[in-house]
């Protein structure tokens, strides 16, 4: 048996097909890593267009005309703010945000005093404020603005709490206090963890944390058609909150899925197509190719039972799948490391465990091994499908096509079942074949499946495909080729 498997491996690894696919995968992995490295997080914002518009408006407006003075002030202030933004670069950066949130209103007051109310004293005050703000920006003191914002929030919070003491039954006040507390926490974190305004990952974490915290409170008021969807949503939000908080508090980047480490951890989502193509390709041709080349005769007149020969081929397909997965992981590790630095891989995988309601750190190899175990049934089932077709119809092209169709059809079947609420779908293979959905106390996509059922369904489908395959292969007449 072992010598048969050895022979099959020899045959597969002397063929060009597998190497070509591996090289394509390699190129793809390298490209993804490079693209993600140079992908700039911040988008460009062209203010020169705004400046032109404001200048155009100003030409037609007369500050001395009382009916136009208001529009004039708006345009003038807009122009000045935009020029200020331009001064700090066209990128979306913290300066832009500070100008928009703070300086812009100061400019508007300045211009209002200057043109509308003509109050020189107040204008001077506003101008002083303006100069101070610009000086803070110039010196890079973004924390000043955070502190200002924090003071405002704390003030609001105090007011709201006082108000609450007088009127006890106002739930909207509870909501407001809850939201203000969240805002306060975000600002505090900004100061503590040095998170400047922007749109990088940390700001994302703050936003996600804030939004999901709000959402999760509102979740109870929402109307869910069933309990399962509610729980599912709740789990997802809880997970996002926990991981965002983990990354903020520990100053880590564990939630990023586009760096080399994230790509490695999500290897089964990122490169799944390649893994499945290779798996199905091997399983779909390992038997039929012997038929098309005539070498099956050579194989079947050796002193082995036909079932043994077929089993050796099936086992070989799975071994090759595992080798391919390992190679893909290795490629991502090495290429990702070269492009983005190997230090990234020192951070463990971070998952939220719903059983203990806690964040769990798992070292990367263990995490990947678990993912592999969870995803393997799906891969093996698709390969078994291709293998069965390959053996029954001795046609590689058909076998590979059907295997890939099975992969692409899976999500469609699931969506249809969701849309039409088909409860029998629990006995179909697609809702069951991804065991990672049960990991870390997670709830499955469908309410009426569970781990035991999934394993049973997977085993039954394997047998349904394999038993006829073995019977037919055992009885088959080898015709003239």
């Amino acid at each position: 048996m072992i010598s048969l498997i050895k022979n099959e491996l020899t045959k597969i690894f002397h063929k060009k097909g597998i190497y070509i696919t591996l090289i394509i995968t390699l190129v793809f992995i390298a490209a993804i890593n490079i693209i993600y490295k140079f992908k700039s997080d911040s988008f460009d914002y062209d203010v020169s267009y705004d400046i032109e518009n404001y200048e155009e408006d100003l030409k037609n407006l007369d500050p001395n005309n009382p009916r136009e003075v208001d529009a004039y002030v708006q345009a003038k202030s807009g122009l000045e703010a935009s020029k200020l933004i331009q001064k700090y670069g066209d990128k979306y950066n913290w300066q832009m945000r500070v100008v928009n949130n703070y300086v812009r209103s100061t400019i508007i007051s300045m211009n209002t005093y200057l043109y509308e109310s003509k109050d020189t004293k107040k204008y001077e005050e506003a101008k002083k404020e303006y100069e101070m703000q610009v000086a803070k920006i110039d010196s890079g003191d973004w924390k000043y603005f955070v502190e200002t914002e924090l003071k405002g929030v704390e003030q609001d919070l105090e007011d709201a709490k006082k108000q609450k003491e007088f009127s006890q039954n106002e739930t909207y006040l509870d909501d407001e206090i809850y939201n203000l507390e969240l805002e306060k926490q975000v600002l505090k974190w900004r100061l503590e963890k040095n998170i400047c305004y922007g749109d990088d990952y940390k700001n994302n974490c703050l936003d996600t944390w804030y939004m999901r915290k709000k959402d999760i409170k509102g979740l109870k008021q929402e109307n869910f058609s069933n309990e399962h969807n509610y729980k599912l949503n709740y789990q997802r939000m809880q997970e996002e909150i926990a991981i965002s908080e983990y990354d903020i508090v520990n100053e880590t980047n564990s939630g990023i899925d586009s760096d080399a480490r994230g790509l490695l951890l999500n290897i089964f989502d990122q490169y799944q197509l390649f893994i499945i193509i290779m798996g199905v390709m091997i399983a779909g041709s390992i038997v039929s190719e012997e038929f098309s080349k005539g070498t099956i005769k050579l194989l079947l007149i050796k002193p082995y039972q036909r079932a043994k020969i077929l089993l050796a081929k099936f086992i070989t397909s799975i071994i090759v799948l595992l080798i391919v997965i390992l190679l893909v992981m290795l490629m991502q590790f090495i290429l990702g490391g070269i492009v983005q630095g190997f230090n990234l891989f020192k951070v463990p995988a971070v998952v939220y465990n719903h059983n203990i309601n806690q964040i769990q750190e798992i070292n990367i190899p263990t995490y990947l091994a678990m993912q592999l175990v969870g995803k393997l049934p799906m891969y093996v089932l698709l390969m078994t499908l291709a293998f069965a077709v390959s053996t029954l119809f001795t046609n590689s092209a058909l076998a590979i096509t059907i295997g890939l169709l099975g992969y692409m059809g899976g999500p469609i079947v699931n969506q249809l079942a969701m849309a039409y609420k088909l409860s029998w779908i629990r006995y179909f293979v697609t809702p069951n074949w991804d065991l990672t959905q049960y990991f870390y106390g997670g709830l499955p996509e469908f309410s009426n499946v569970n781990l035991a059922l999934s394993i049973a369904v997977i085993v039954v489908y394997m047998l349904i495909m394999l038993i006829p395959t073995f019977i037919v292969f055992n009885k088959r007449n080898i015709k003239n080729i």
Binding site: S3, K11, H14, K293, L298, I301, P303, Y304, N480
Partner: protein, 302 residues
């Protein structure tokens, strides 16, 4: 009595609606080289596939080295080597790798044995080239190598001379004769080309339309049929009138007659009496092909 290696008893096989084999029986003993002869479509390859267990048997029995191929496949096939139709080789592998794959499936085959066989089929120089670069003759030789690698005592070859040049056929003939003699192998060769097999086999089995027409020693097949004599004379015009034997006039100086040896002096006497000059009489060796055509009555296929 030599050891019985292969025995086929009353093999029947139906593929679709067509009855391919209608009771094929024959035995093959150690050291024998059996020519399995028949026109295309007579059921030669099907018989071989039944022997090797590649196709199921409808009725009848194949026994190899005492084991039934149906019920005891692995034991029966253990000492069998075969080439069916074309040599089944992996084109993308080297010749040596091909042999290694076969060797892996028989625990008793060693590396030395591989080298030995490579030398035997004279492929030493090209054994590390890919099979896709081989000529047909080399592929055939590699096919023989992989078939005899595990020291089988039954070698089955389906149309082994297909596509070989005369030189290649001669080499193969030498190789097979050697194997039968030295290794005491029983060899089963199917062919539609009689003249190539003739000098190789010591037994012949003629199959037609799924039935065995004749199983005999080659010498016997030949001797059973009447011998031809070609006689050269000065004039053949009135020969028909003088001789009452079946004669065939070839031209005005030659004719042939089918008679037994004992009748020749009588013919000469008659001719001399009629004042016909007899210059030459010689016996025409009947080829296996002629004998075969006589048996089967030409190449008709259902």
């Amino acid at each position: 009595m030599e050891n019985l290696v292969l025995s086929c008893k009353d093999l029947y096989k139906k593929l679709g609606k067509k009855q391919i084999l209608k009771g094929v029986s024959f035995d093959l003993y150690e050291g024998d080289i059996l020519g399995f002869i028949g026109p295309n479509g007579a059921g030669k390859t099907t018989t071989i596939k039944l022997i090797l267990g590649l196709q199921g048997i409808n009725s009848g029995k194949v026994t190899i080295n005492g084991y039934d191929i149906k019920n005891n496949f692995t034991k029966a096939i253990k000492r069998v080597g075969a080439i069916i139709e074309n040599p089944d080789l992996y084109m993308y592998l080297t010749g040596y790798k091909n042999l290694e794959l076969v060797a892996n499936m028989y625990p008793e085959v060693t590396k030395q044995r591989i080298d030995e066989v490579v030398k035997l089929v004279k492929l030493e120089k090209r054994i590390n080239d890919k099979v896709s670069k081989y000529s047909l003759g080399m592929r055939q030789r590699l096919g023989v190598a992989q078939a005899i690698l595990h020291n089988p005592n039954l070698l089955i070859l389906d149309e082994p001379t297909n596509g070989l040049d005369p030189e290649g056929i001669k080499d193969l003939r030498e190789l097979l004769k050697n194997l039968a003699k030295k290794e005491k192998m029983a060899i089963f060769i199917s062919s539609h080309n009689l003249s190539e097999i003739e000098s190789l086999c010591n037994k012949v089995c003629i199959i037609q339309n799924g039935e065995v027409v004749e199983t005999e020693d080659i010498l016997k097949v030949k001797s059973e049929s009447q011998t031809h004599y070609e006689i050269t004379v000065d004039n053949t015009e009135n020969i028909n009138k003088y001789l009452s034997y079946p004669i065939e006039i070839k031209d005005n100086s030659k004719f042939s007659v089918s008679v037994t040896r004992e009748q020749i002096p009588q013919i000469v006497k008659t001719l001399v009496n009629k004042e016909i000059k007899v210059y030459e009489i010689h016996e025409i060796q009947m080829s296996l092909e002629d004998a075969f055509l006589k048996k089967t009555g030409g190449n008709t296929i259902d």
